[in-house]
Structure formats: structure tokens, C-alpha cells
């Protein structure tokens, strides 16, 4: 099904539209905005994990020379926001629930004065018992974070366990007959796994400049993955109509889900409204690590029934994800539940997924979104099963993996499933089982599935008088190259060169709605809307050409920026002549548009209860094989080589795809070996890149990368996403290789040298 050869732009090397601006230092990020009269905002944060606020006195701070405004919860409307559970306000109200929670904010003429003013704010706290562990938090008698939880507004079908105690969001998936499944099984494996919080570690901190323009509209310049949702949240928090708010995002210095948040915008906006001066609020590096959002930490309990020959029969999974003190995106555990059966066919399944409050910083979205946790459990256990049943780990996976037409445990029937092909290709590339690896190296494998695409988006394609096109999408480019890919898609559809298409993103005044870029919906879903809008424009262009040539539309061929007569290919009109040469008489200016929602089918309520979404458009798959070296004395693991094979549908931009995948592997490597936000009584112990370090250039393996040929009929030109699935396999693959190399099974992340050395000591003791 290789259609790549037919395309002029899709799949061809295309220069990233913003690359020149970014290599010359000209690209403007939100942190680069300095405006005349701009005030600097700073936030006073809770020093205690759980306490009642008895009193806040801001008088002294207000009197400091240069301070223009001080705000607390008392000064802003009592409104809450969140993706599924509306539980968080702009400032702590009545109670603080984690160390780092916003209590008050100051705007002053410079940063020094703003910081000095924070010290003058007096807050009296009455400490409350706190809980830091999700399993402790769901025990009877645990301290309760949100006493009024039941009264909070929610945007999902509540199960009876949802919104009770410290559980906010909850979901259950049941397919087949679990008891019968375990009864049919020859072996039952039961394991528990634990993972820490991982910070998204985008390089650019959260930052907003808010101002009130001369028309009295609120204008926000920020760094975000979801300008249109920012706009809606600001509207509901501040009580201003959506149309009176304009969000104009700057270049985004990395997001990875972490900027699918609204953190700095409301505070900066409230201060700007109060002072009528531009206000800038930028998180400090430390605030990033205490008061932004991280990947959810959690515990996964997995019980799996298997036949002697390795056939998976039954699976009972419990996911306890720690969302911290608020639940801005508890959907993570929903995505975790979807990925928790792995890329496998398991006839009898139950998943119970909990999002649980603790007195810690918030869990949010981060690349892989819920799946790195559950896939670490699934793929670690798959290797344990393979070892005990003495089956080759890849053979075990091949035996059970999903194929075209299979259904997931959620009941969703799958199309475009090439996980088997990724396993086979990765096996071949790595020389698995062929004794090709050097003696000091060991291989480990993992594969995975991730939901791709869906939700609402729209696109507009306008054809200009000079034969160029302007594309508008509300979807954001957070660096992954969305603008370039949208341009390629429109150019292909319109028969133009990529350079002749300009893509406008983000600005809520000039772009139509998109729900935010997450869950592999950039290329796939925003791309679909842009393609459909371009088709709409194309149809109108064909009509104009037919009018100009005095022929019928089916006699028109478009391509290379020209319209031709099919019956007489020498008759040619450049788009610029067609569009600029008075043809506006017929039909008016050409504007193509599309509004779509690719998640329209609900899950079967007999199988899924508490679904946080409708069915996803499609799924992406990947297999990763790592080659590792372990130093048996120090326990230090190195990963010199990794083989990555992806099922990503049609490749739209080869350089972009490769960069996405290698970047995802780097994040997966960090999750596996280095990163993990450490807490002591709710206090982050390692709040910086010095202490919580992402992988560097010298940590990275050599990467052998490939894709399997696939065409997803629901994606634009057959494309699917790749950003998330690239993250989810590294940790289990490395854990699996570590066990092969040392005999030590590490069931918690990160896989530190200490855990390996301790495990080796344990093994030595058992042998003695």
C-alpha cells in the first residue's frame, strides 16, 4: 500500500518553517517579551503540605514602593477549573493542599521588588494531617484533601468509586469473563510495579505576558499547547466573554504535555486587569519543579493468567495513579488503562483505574500520557512470563500481539495494526538470538500501543491573489514541527509547493478552534481538518478554473501551482492568474473550511464505565530493543544501542519523524534510568536539572530506526502519530535487559545502580 511515490510533498524532505528564526536567535518566545510599563509578577507559595489558611495579611506588601497589586483568593471570582474534575482555583482558598501551591501573587515594577513583597505577606496556617502515598490515601481514615469533592463539577460519567474520599476520577473496563479466564489458565503471575513522577523538563519555563489592549480586550502572550482552551478557562475563571479574550501564543520552547496546562495565564491576567499594565509571570526553575505538573507517579498491580504455551488468557489490572493535590488531567489513568493490556489480545480482562489525591505537586500530562506507567508493568511482566515458561520473549509477544481486526479490551475494533511487523523488523535489525551482540552486552525488548487522535478541531484554507495559500489551525506547534506538516498536507492537496503555503497557528483571533495538542492528534487530527479544508478550497479552485477555461470541473487537473485542461494539457493557467486575474467574479474569494470531531463513537457501557473519552481514531504501535551494558560492581547501566521500529502510518516529514522518535527515546531513557522527582513529606528534594537530570548527549544510545509500511485510512494521507509511543518502551526494555544480564528484576523506576547492587547482593545471599 505504498502510496508515497504518488506524492509531491508528503514524505519529502521539507525544511521546518521556523528553523531559520530558531537558529538565528530571532524566534520570539514568551520569555523574550519585555514591554514598556511591564510589571513583574511573583507568586507566594505554600510552605506546608496541608493546612487551613487562618489569615492572610497583604497590607505590608501593598505598601512597598513599586508594588502595584497583590491578589489572593479573596480578590478573584470563586471559580474552579480542570479537564475532567473542576477542582482548582487560581489561588488556594481556605486550605493549602501541597507545598508550592499558589496562595497570593504580587505585581511590581521589577522582579526584586516583587520578590521582596512576597516576604511581606503574612499567612497564618493551621497544619492538617497530610498523606503522600496513593495507597495510604485510599485507606479508610486517611486525611481527606477535598472535603466537598462530591459537589465538584465533573465532565465524565461518575462510577460509584469516583469522587469519593481521595479518589477523583475512576474508570473500569471489563471484557470477557475474568474468573473463567483465570480458571482456564495454567499459570497465574501477579506483580506490583511502582513509578515516580517525571518532570516534562521542557527547556522553556511556563510564562505569560497579559495585557489589556486599547479596545479593552484581554490579550495573553504565552507558551501553550492549547490556546483555545486557555481562552475558555480564562473566560470562566475571570467572568469575561470568550470573544473579549485573545490568546496569542509565542513559539513554544517544548511542551510534551506539560504545557497542555493553564498555570501562569490566569494569575498574570488577573493582575493585568487589576493594574491595567502589562504583567509578566515566568516560573523560576525551582517553581517548575514544585508547582508545574509532572507525569503521574503510581502503583500498578497486574495479575495475568497464561496457558502453558504462552497464550495470554486473563488479566486483572489495578492502576493507582497519584495525581497530587489537584487533578488537572486525571485522564492520564484512563490512557494508562487503555495501554495496560499492552499490544496484546487478552480475552478476559478487568482494569480498575484510580486517580488519587495526595498532598504533593500535581500530576498532569506528559508525553506518553499514562502509558509509560502501565506499559512498564505490562512489558516487565511479559518478560517474567517468558522467562518462567522458557519461551523467547519476542516469540511470546508475537504469539499474543494484536492483529488487524482484533478488538482491544475496551471493545474498540482496531484497524491499521502493524505491531507484529514492528516486532519482526526490530528482531531482524538487532540480530536478536543470533549471537551478534558483543559478549558484554545484553538485549531487552518491549513493545507498546498508544491511542492516537481524536476530539474537536478545525481548519481554514484561504487562497490568495498571488497563488499562495494561508492555512489557519488552532493547533499548536510546540517544536515538534506541526506547522511544517500542516503546510505539507495543504500543499499536497492544493497542488502547490510547500513554500507557497503559510501556516498560522494558535492566535485565537485568526485561527479556528482546536482542543489542544496532545495524544498524537497533531499530524493526525489537526492534519485531517487541514486536509479537508484544503479539499474544500481545491474544489472551489477547480470550479474557478473550469469557469475560466469554459469547461466542466472534471476536465481540470491541478498541480505544480497550475491548472490544466485534461483534454488539452497545453492549456495552462497559473494559480496566480486564476486567483488574481479577476476570477473573483465567480463564487467570490476561495475559503476552504472543515470542522471535525474524530471521537464520535462512545464506548460500550457494558464494557467501559467512567470513560474519559469516546473511542480514539486509531492506535500507534512500536517495538524497541535495547542493547545494554551493566557494571556488576557499581550497578551502572549504559545503553549503547537501541533499535526502534514504529508503525506510524504514512511518513509525512522524514526528518521530523526521526527527530520525534529519537527525542521520545531520550525521554524514555531518562524515565528508565535517571529521572524521578523525589519527595520528603511532600517537599520536592531535587528541584533542578542539577539534581533531576534529563539524559545528555553522551547518555544517548546509537539509534537504529525504521518504520513499517502502513496506511491508516483515517489519517491525512494515511498518517498517524508517533510522539507518545516512542516514550513508553524504554523503561521496560531496559528492565528486561537488566534481568537477563544480572538476574535482578527491578520493579520500580528509575533503575538506579543502587537497586541493581542491592538485587545482586540479595541473589548472592539466596545462593549462599
Amino acid at each position: 500500500m505504498n502510496k508515497l511515490n504518488e506524492y509531491a510533498v508528503i514524505g519529502k524532505k521539507t525544511t521546518k518553517t521556523d528553523a531559520v528564526a530558531k537558529v538565528t536567535g530571532g524566534a520570539r518566545f514568551a520569555t523574550d517579551i519585555y514591554l514598556p510599563n511591564m510589571l513583574w509578577a511573583k507568586v507566594l507559595r505554600s510552605p506546608v503540605p496541608h493546612a487551613r489558611i487562618l489569615r492572610i495579611d497583604t497590607e505590608k506588601a501593598k505598601k512597598l514602593d513599586g508594588v502595584k497589586a497583590v491578589l489572593t483568593a479573596a480578590d478573584v471570582p470563586e471559580a474552579r477549573y480542570g479537564a475532567l474534575v473542576l477542582d482548582m482555583g487560581m489561588f488556594a482558598r481556605g486550605k493549602v493542599r501541597y507545598i508550592g501551591e499558589a496562595v497570593a501573587a504580587v505585581a511590581a515594577v521589577n522582579e526584586e521588588i516583587a520578590l521582596a513583597a512576597l516576604k511581606l505577606i503574612e499567612v497564618a496556617y493551621e497544619p492538617l494531617p497530610a498523606v503522600f502515598d496513593p495507597l495510604e490515601a485510599i485507606k479508610p481514615g486517611a486525611p481527606i484533601l477535598h472535603e466537598d469533592l462530591k459537589s465538584y463539577k465533573t465532565l465524565f460519567e461518575r462510577t460509584d468509586k469516583a469522587m469519593t474520599g481521595n479518589v477523583n476520577y475512576q474508570a473500569e473496563i471489563t471484557s470477557g469473563d475474568l474468573e473463567a479466564g483465570f480458571a482456564q489458565s495454567d499459570y497465574i503471575f501477579e506483580d506490583s510495579y511502582e513509578v515516580p513522577k517525571q518532570h516534562p523538563s521542557y527547556m522553556e519555563p511556563n510564562s505569560t505576558v497579559a495585557l489589556v489592549d486599547s479596545d479593552g480586550r484581554l490579550v495573553i502572550h504565552n507558551t501553550t499547547q492549547r490556546p483555545h482552551i486557555n481562552q475558555a478557562i480564562l473566560s470562566s475563571l475571570l467572568g469575561i466573554p470568550i470573544a473579549k479574550i485573545r490568546v496569542v501564543p509565542c513559539h513554544v520552547g517544548g511542551g510534551f504535555g506539560g504545557k497542555n496546562r493553564t498555570l501562569t495565564e490566569p494569575t498574570a491576567a488577573a493582575l493585568a486587569l487589576k493594574t491595567r499594565q502589562p504583567v509578566r509571570l515566568t516560573f523560576s526553575h525551582e517553581e517548575e519543579f514544585t508547582s508545574a505538573t509532572t507525569r503521574h507517579s503510581g502503583v500498578m498491580v497486574m495479575k495475568t493468567g497464561v496457558k502453558k504455551d504462552g497464550t495470554l488468557v486473563a488479566s486483572d489490572v489495578k492502576l493507582y495513579y497519584d495525581c497530587g493535590a489537584y487533578a488537572p488531567t486525571p485522564n492520564a489513568v484512563w490512557l494508562g488503562a487503555i495501554s495496560s493490556s499492552g499490544a496484546y489480545r487478552i480475552p478476559h480482562c478487568r482494569v480498575e483505574a484510580y486517580s488519587i489525591y495526595t498532598n504533593k505537586m500535581m500530576g498532569g500530562a506528559f508525553r506518553g500520557y499514562g502509558a509509560p506507567q502501565s506499559n512498564f508493568a505490562r512489558e516487565s511482566q511479559m518478560d517474567r512470563i517468558a522467562r518462567e515458561l522458557k519461551i523467547d520473549p519476542i516469540e511470546l509477544r508475537l504469539k499474543n500481539c494484536l492483529v488487524e481486526g482484533d478488538s482491544l479490551h475496551t471493545g474498540q475494533k482496531l484497524h491499521s495494526v502493524k505491531v507484529k511487523e514492528t516486532l519482526l523488523k526490530a528482531r531482524e535489525l538487532s540480530g536478536w538470538g543470533k549471537g551478534r551482540v558483543p559478549a558484554n552486552r545484553t538485549l531487552g525488548v518491549a513493545c507498546g500501543i498508544f491511542a492516537c487522535g481524536g476530539f474537536a478541531t478545525s481548519g481554514i484554507v484561504r487562497l490568495n491573489m498571488d497563488g499562495t495559500a494561508t492555512v489557519a489551525t488552532g493547533a499548536m506547534d510546540m517544536g515538534q514541527g506541526l506547522r511544517t506538516v500542516m503546510g505539507q498536507i495543504a500543499a499536497e492537496e492544493l497542488g502547490m509547493a510547500a513554500e507557497d503555503v503559510t501556516v498560522i497557528i494558535g492566535d485565537t483571533d485568526s485561527t479556528p478552534f482546536d482542543v489542544g495538542i496532545f495524544g498524537d492528534r497533531g499530524t493526525h487530527t489537526a492534519g485531517m481538518a487541514v486536509q479537508m479544508a484544503a479539499q474544500d478550497a481545491r474544489k472551489q479552485l477547480v470550479e474557478q478554473a473550469a469557469f475560466a477555461f469554459k469547461t466542466t470541473p472534471n476536465n481540470i487537473v491541478l498541480g505544480g501551482g497550475k491548472a490544466r485542461l485534461a483534454s488539452d494539457p497545453d492549456k495552462v493557467l497559473d494559480y496566480k492568474d486564476l486567483l488574481g486575474g479577476g476570477q473573483y467574479k465567480k463564487g467570490g474569494p476561495i475559503i476552504g473550511k472543515a470542522s471535525i470531531n474524530l471521537t464520535e463513537t462512545a464506548f460500550d457501557p457494558a464494557i467501559v464505565r467512567g470513560a474519559a473519552s469516546r473511542m480514539f481514531s486509531t492506535y500507534t504501535f512500536a517495538t524497541h530493543i535495547v542493547e545494554i551494558e551493566v557494571d556488576p560492581k557499581t550497578g551502572v547501566v549504559r545503553v549503547p544501542k537501541t533499535y526502534a521500529v514504529h508503525d506510524c502510518g504514512t511518513v509525512v516529514n522524514p526528518d521530523g519523524l526521526r527527530g520525534q522518535i529519537i527525542g521520545g527515546l531520550a525521554t524514555g531513557l531518562g524515565y528508565a534510568l535517571y529521572e524521578g522527582v523525589a519527595f520528603e513529606n511532600g517537599q520536592v528534594q531535587n528541584p533542578s536539572f542539577l539534581e533531576c537530570r534529563p539524559p545528555t548527549a553522551v547518555d544517548m544510545p546509537e539509534i537504529v530506526f525504521d518504520t513499517v509500511e502502513e496506511f491508516d485510512e483515517k489519517g491525512p494521507f494515511g498518517a498517524k502519530g508517533v510522539g507518545n509511543v516512542s516514550v513508553i518502551n524504554m523503561a521496560p526494555a531496559i528492565a528486561n535487559a537488566v534481568e537477563t544480564a544480572t538476574g535482578v528484576r527491578v520493579t520500580s523506576l528509575p533503575i538506579t545502580p543502587g537497586k541493581i547492587v542491592q538485587g545482586l547482593g540479595q541473589l548472592a545471599k539466596e545462593e549462599a
Binding site: 521546518k16 531559520v20 530558531k22 518566545f29 516534562p200 526521526r658
Partner: protein
């Protein structure tokens, strides 16, 4: 009664940035990063950790890479400072800038200025670096987007671009000439 915060007196300093002398009045404790970004509006140099741990603030001081967040501006008197804004020559991209574009080494771009400056320092010292040398050179610079591979490839590819003179004048408004109204026909 309002209170007033006492601020240290500013001092005059002459800095040589991207080949130009700049006379400034700055706080003695100001970092070079702060002065570049806030006093000179050279915001290409990025501020991330302020701890010397990420490399995003890298500039060249007398040709050597330096973390501008850890250097006092006052200490740069009499030295030549080069920032990302000073790399283009006569309107053409530096070969390394072109290489970053060609190799797909740029994603979000927040680490890019620091990476390019470190890469340039390496190329000035070793005109034909190996991939391993390039990797070592950028080991102190964090990038969350790319996984570093295409950055390494860009540094290795830059010498060839320099030799063939294939660094381009960036397309964009500056090259597009005056905009004329197209013929509107009948």
C-alpha cells in the same frame, strides 16, 4: 506609609558584543545573561536554570564557550562577546546554522542558540570534528526535544557546507522585494 527597597548603584561599563562597542549602565551584580537579554535586547541567548546546568545561555567570550548566567557582565570588560545574533555574516547564515536547518536539528529551538554556540566553538578549534567529538562538546547542553542525534549530525556536516559555500541567505520578507498588487483583470 510606603517602604522602599534599597537598590545598589549602577555602574558604567563598555562591552564589546558581536563586534560593536556598547556603553551601558548596569548593576555590578548583573550577570552577562541578564545584561544581554534585558539591556541589549539580545534575547536569542536563553535563560533556563541559572545554575550552570543546562547550557542554554552559552555565548562565546574571546572565542571560548561560556555560561553567561554564571559570568558577571562587569567581568567581561575588554573581552569579545559573541551571541547567536552575531553569527550571520553579510546576511548569510553561518554554515553551522545552515547545517542545523538541513539536518532537522531544530525542534522547539530553546536549546538551539546554546547548542550552535558550543558547536561553533568546537568547529573553530577543530575544523573537521568527528561525531564523538561533537557529542562530547554538547554534553553540557540539555535538549529535551531531539535526543541530540541530529544536532551531532549538523555539527559534523557544517564543514562541508562551509567548503561548498551552500549556506543560504534566509528566505523571508527581507528577500521578497516590494509587494505589488496583482493585475485584477477585466
Amino acid at each position: 506609609m510606603t517602604e522602599t527597597l534599597s537598590v545598589p548603584a549602577k555602574m558604567p561599563v563598555r562591552l564589546r558584543v558581536n563586534g560593536q562597542n556598547r556603553d551601558l549602565l548596569i548593576e555590578p551584580s548583573a550577570s552577562l545573561l541578564q545584561v544581554l537579554r534585558e539591556d541589549l535586547a539580545l534575547t536569542g541567548t536563553k535563560e533556563v536554570c541559572l545554575l550552570g546546568s543546562c547550557g542554554a545561555c552559552t555565548v562565546l567570550i574571546d572565542g571560548k564557550p561560556a555560561l553567561s548566567c554564571l559570568v558577571l557582565a562587569m567581568a567581561c570588560r575588554g573581552k569579545a562577546i559573541t551571541t547567536i545574533e552575531g553569527l550571520m555574516e553579510g546576511g548569510d547564515l553561518h554554515p553551522l546554522q545552515q547545517a542545523f536547518i538541513d539536518k532537522g536539528a531544530v525542534q522547539c529551538g530553546y536549546c538551539t542558540p546554546g547548542m550552535v554556540m558550543v558547536g561553533k566553538a568546537l568547529l573553530d578549534e577543530k575544523p573537521n570534528p568527528t561525531a564523538e567529538e561533537a557529542r562530547q562538546a554538547i554534553a553540557g547542553n540539555l535538549c529535551r526535544c531531539t535526543g541530540y542525534q541530529q544536532i551531532v549530525e549538523a555539527i559534523v556536516a557544517a564543514p562541508e557546507i562551509a567548503r561548498t559555500g551552500s549556506a543560504k541567505r534566509p528566505a523571508g520578507l527581507m528577500d521578497s522585494g516590494p509587494y505589488l498588487m496583482p493585475e485584477t483583470g477585466e
